[in-house]
Amino acid sequence: MSVDKLKQIALGTIAASLFFISGTALADYMNVLNLTEGVTPTSKMVYDLHMKILYIVTAIGVVVFSVMCWSIFHHRKSKGAVAAQFHHSTIAEITWTVIPVIILVIMAIPATKALIFMEQTGDAEMTLKVTGHQWKWKYDYLDEDISFVSSLSQDSNDARQMGSGIDPNTVENYLLDVDNPVVLPIKTKIRILTTAADVIHGWWVPALGWKRDAIPGFINDNWTYIEEPGVYRGNCAELCGRDHGFMPIVVNAVPKAEYAVWVEEQKAMQLAAAAGADKEWTKEELLEKGAAVYAANCAACHMAEGQGIEGLFPALNGSAIVNGPATEMAMLILNGKNMMPAFKDILNDVDIAAAMTHERNSWGNTVKDVVQPSDVKAMR
């Protein structure tokens, strides 16, 4: 193959790939390049630091790579270069030890300042406790007595099943949307406590400028101060099992007055829900609710028809536990086992009773009885 032919092929390939990139809208690529500036003083500080360091290492890279390239092009045997035989230079070695030290000190100063600023968790006006569960987040507003569970929105959840036939491009905020977003007031110093119920998770909203692990048995404290209203999305950052990729975070930052209204609404809703546990439910009511609870919480592993996945997740259809005494089944759901998460803090008594009733009456299962929320309440 001649050199010209090779050049033609190389140019053709470059042109074709440029066409390919522009064809799928160059803008799509350019939007996904860099860190977000975010909406908190911390995130802006972190962004500035990131850009500063990026410029410094890029400059070092340009200098070092240029010297290397110059050497590669000029000191080659084919150009008649004769090898010098030096193998030591104290001055050069001291120079390339001292200059990096100076650059590192220049980087360390703003980094230390930023870190000290980020660790000032005192003087918070309100506290949000975030608990990671497999695979959803629970939020407790410690000053308001509000708590709720936030999980992947139903349309994302439908689309992400294998062979769902739903194009993710048609789902709004695919995998970054939840049923119950966290609502937070803007221009308020909020302490955010992270912890977990089962395994380690990581709570991360890029626009806030940090992420922090949620560790079972320990509480980490962090803070944020959101400057602009908006919806900010994030993910679990720490591998936490099968559905690690499917427990997003949505923060809905609103003005203080709007937040106060939301708080009152939530309190009313929580009172209504608490009343449900003591009432006697009909089988039809439980079956209807149970199907929805099952789809949202159980179907990911045990699958829509209760068939499970061979070798990984046991089938519920025909399972000895599902067809056995209700107490044992309830204890397993409440406390979890191996990969099965504990649901005691995620689902309320009505949800668990409904899901159990659904499972015991569905597919080939034969018990066909009714589990009342009050039964579950008694077993906690």
Binding site: R76, H87, L104, L115, N220
Partner: protein, 530 residues
């Protein structure tokens, strides 16, 4: 010298059949077995990464269950680190160290046999978990509790596989230290050792210090799971984060266990093809030693987000940044070796220069992540995936591949096919950048690591990344082709092989006889390191 060689030739009767390999105590045969094993595991681990890239080619779940995807991510890392990179490094050490220091063989040849033959058994344990209830390990190669404790029947197999790999590595390390300390030829003082040998002594000490820590950590996991202890369970007074401290106290030195042998290889290749002695030999030795020493004080930079006290975060930030200094010294020394040399660009040199450029890119992103406040954003995103793959693939693996091309004519007596070697280099270099560079972008833009599916905004880059991955994976088949072709025949290699090669190994015939240096050579400044 030549008389000694002829004398060796005379007694050159090799054992034959399967027994030659099963019961081998010969450093060359064991080296070959290590390298072949590493190559096989490189393709096993590579096949897993192809599954990962196929699943990530488009948003949505197309091919594998998320749980199996997590197993792929986990076992890909374990196989690549413990099955491909470490055995490849030990294989090079086995082949080259006795020939470089003028020793007849390794100091402990039977232990050498055992440390190799443990490996196939360890990986049988590990890979058999794919067929067990609960599947293969899926909690990440870092094995963080409590997640790892949720694994089903495969859990004890994972723990014992890690134990066996640790025992194998420690035996290999003891052997290398015993060999270099006791079996150097007369006149081969420490400061005359080739840099590859130095890199391996330091690596061996790191192995002996770090591997038992990992073994202790996984044993604690085992007793937590089966014997009711609560080392890592807060409900019993333990702490899940303590495991991370233990793991990374092993894990960070492990990074240097992987990279130092490659640095050693590059320190042999660059002077050879620059036809110029290595610049700053002494500072190279001290820089390598101080990198190894510092590597024990930076472990917590892998876990900045667990919530350490401010003073801890500051300490580990400063300590991490300080590693940039000796690493910089090494890079600058290699550059100064090339400077005013008379360079030619055979395949080993191309891979070494590729390492220089692309390892530096990994170094830059590493420095960025050493800065704690910004690491809170980078941590656990594709930015870190880009970083460590730049360090490992065009860094460590390019070093190992460069070493294979460099010494293949010595091992086989035949020159490899230079055209195929260059094709392998250029395809690998282009595709490895297409594969890993865009990961910086999607990581910064907010794509977490270890997820089987992602928001559609990341779809365009993921297509490009996957295409790069497929091309890179396929390109590695060229290496197999080159090696087979070279073993079967080719232009005969001279003893020196390369015009600029210096050192004892290049005074031996190509291929060297089964036993070499039964009479130790005399080493003077003139015949010492390149």
């Amino acid at each position: 010298m030549s008389e000694a060689v002829l004398h060796d030739d005379h007694h050159d009767h090799k054992p034959y059949g399967i027994g030659r390999w099963l019961f081998s105590t010969n450093h060359k045969d064991i080296g070959t077995m290590y390298l072949v094993f590493a190559l096989i595991m490189f393709f096993v681990g590579g096949a897993m990464s192809m599954v990962i890239r196929a699943e990530l080619f488009q948003p949505g779940i197309q091919y594998v269950d998320p749980q199996f995807y997590n197993s792929m991510v986990t076992v890909h890392a374990l196989v690549m680190i413990f099955g491909a990179l470490m055995p490849a490094g030990v294989g090079l050490a086995n082949w080259m160290i006795p020939m470089m220091i003028g020793a007849p063989d390794m100091a402990l040849p039977r232990m050498n046999n055992m440390s190799f033959w443990i490996l196939p058994f360890a990986f049988t344990l590990l890979l058999s978990t794919f067929f067990m209830q609960g599947g293969a390990p899926a909690g990440g190669w870092t094995m963080y509790p409590p997640l790892v404790l949720q694994l089903g029947d495969g859990f004890p197999y994972l723990v014992f596989a890690v134990h066996f790999l640790g025992i194998s590595s420690i035996m290999g390390a003891i052997n290398i230290i015993a060999t270099v300390f006791n079996m150097r030829a007369p006149g081969m003082s420490f400061m005359r050792l080739p840099l590859f040998v130095w890199a391996w002594i330091i690596t061996a000490f790191l192995l002996i210090a770090a591997m038992p820590v990992l073994a202790g950590g996984v044993t604690m996991l085992l007793t937590d799971k089966f014997f009711g202890t609560a080392f890592f369970d807060a409900a019993g007074g333990g702490d899940p984060v303590m495991f991370q401290h233990i793991f990374w106290f092993f894990g960070h030195p492990e990074v240097y266990i992987l990279v130092l042998p490659s640095f050693g290889v590059v320190s042999q290749i660059i002077p050879t093809f620059s036809r110029k002695p290595l610049f700053g030999y002494t500072s190279m030795v001290y820089a390598t030693a101080s990198i190894a020493f510092l590597s024990f004080f930076v472990w917590a930079h892998h876990m900045f987000t667990v919530g350490m006290p401010l003073t801890g975060e500051l300490f580990f930030m400063y300590a991490t940044m300080s590693i940039a200094v000796p690493t910089g010294v090494k890079i600058f020394n290699w550059m100064a070796t090339m400077w005013k040399g008379s360079m030619t660009f055979e395949t080993p040199m191309l891979f070494a220069i590729g390492l220089l450029f692309m390892f530096s890119i990994g170094g830059f992103s590493g420095l960025m992540m050493g800065i704690t406040p910004v690491d809170f954003q980078y941590h656990d995103t594709y930015f870190i995936v880009a970083h460590f793959h730049y360090v490992i693939v065009p860094g460590i693996i390019f070093g190992i591949i460069g070493g294979i091309y460099f010494w293949l004519p010595k091992w086989t007596g035949n020159m490899y096919d230079e055209k195929l070697g260059k094709l392998h280099f250029w395809l690998s270099t282009v595709s490895v950048n297409v594969l890993f560079f865009p990961m910086h972008f999607i990581g910064l833009a907010g794509m977490p690591r270890r997820i089987p599916d992602y928001n559609v905004q990341f779809a365009d880059w993921n297509i490009i990344i996957s295409l790069g991955g497929f091309v890179f994976g396929l390109s590695q088949l060229i290496l197999v082709w080159v090696v087979i072709k070279c073993v079967r025949g080719g232009e005969k290699a001279t003893d020196q092989v390369w015009e600029g090669a210096h050192g004892l190994e290049w005074t031996l015939p190509s291929p060297p006889p089964f036993h070499t240096f039964t009479t130790p050579p005399e080493v003077t400044d003139a015949t010492a390191h390149s």
